[in-house]
Symmetry: C2
Subunit: 120 residues, 2 copies
DNA sequence: CAGCATCCCAAAAGATACTG
DNA sequence: CAGTATCTTTTGGGATGCTG
């Protein structure tokens, strides 16, 4: 009944001693093939839907819509639709999302230091 | 022939002015359901295969193997097999991987500041 | 113990056509 | 212009059985 005490202690250590869950929580809203790129573009300036589409060569209209909706639901992007004809919709990053900059910067710094690690 | 000059300029800006590619390059080796958790565990100390398995409840043997192999190929994890019977294999993070700590910390700091953003 | 080989499934992403 | 609706494809991950 107690041969696995060490394992249990291990698990407790991981989950309680370190900000384990917060890390995973923080990563989740950015998972998706295009989300980081979208955030990157919006971090530069506000974009219209079509601008964003052209700024991300290869993305489909469908995927851009889907991922923007998810980013919006996660509070990282703000969508503003203007009732005009033809319609105009603008996307910008939220205040909360600006806080991600240090993360991006740290990651880039690391990437530069250790160089591109190509797997293939 | 030149109505799209603005778009081209935009793309150039994203890809040349900002460390766009480095960022994506840096993220790639960490994509995979368990990689961050594996790195987290190994950041605490060296683990044997079985220890790692027990430390990550829910992971399958198959996935642990696959993701460890990828992390190894990306130079984030070092694998050492001892020729014993029964066999013993130890995993540890590499020097390069230690540089990721600031990234993790920045992400966690951001996560704490803006709280958990639940989508559901 | 630490795995590899297979087969299978669900989720994510892409292609295409259509619309307020 | 900025989407939505469907359908198909791809990818990642899981289950199971076998082995040096």
């Amino acid at each position: 009944m107690n041969e696995k005490v060490d394992d249990k202690a291990l698990q407790t250590a991981y989950r309680e001693q370190y900000p384990y869950q917060p890390f995973l929580e923080a990563m989740r809203p950015l998972t998706g093939k295009w989300k980081v790129e979208i955030m990157w573009a919006l971090a530069q300036r506000t974009h219209r839907f079509g601008e964003l589409r052209r700024a991300l060569p290869g993305i489909t209209q469908h995927m851009l819509t889907v991922q923007l909706r998810e980013l919006e639901a996660d509070g990282l992007v703000k969508r503003t639709a203007y009732e005009e004809k033809p319609p105009r919709v603008e996307y910008e990053i939220t205040e909360a999302a600006h806080g991600l900059r240090p993360v991006f910067e740290a990651l880039i710094a690391w990437s530069k230091q250790y160089g591109p690690m190509s797997r293939n």
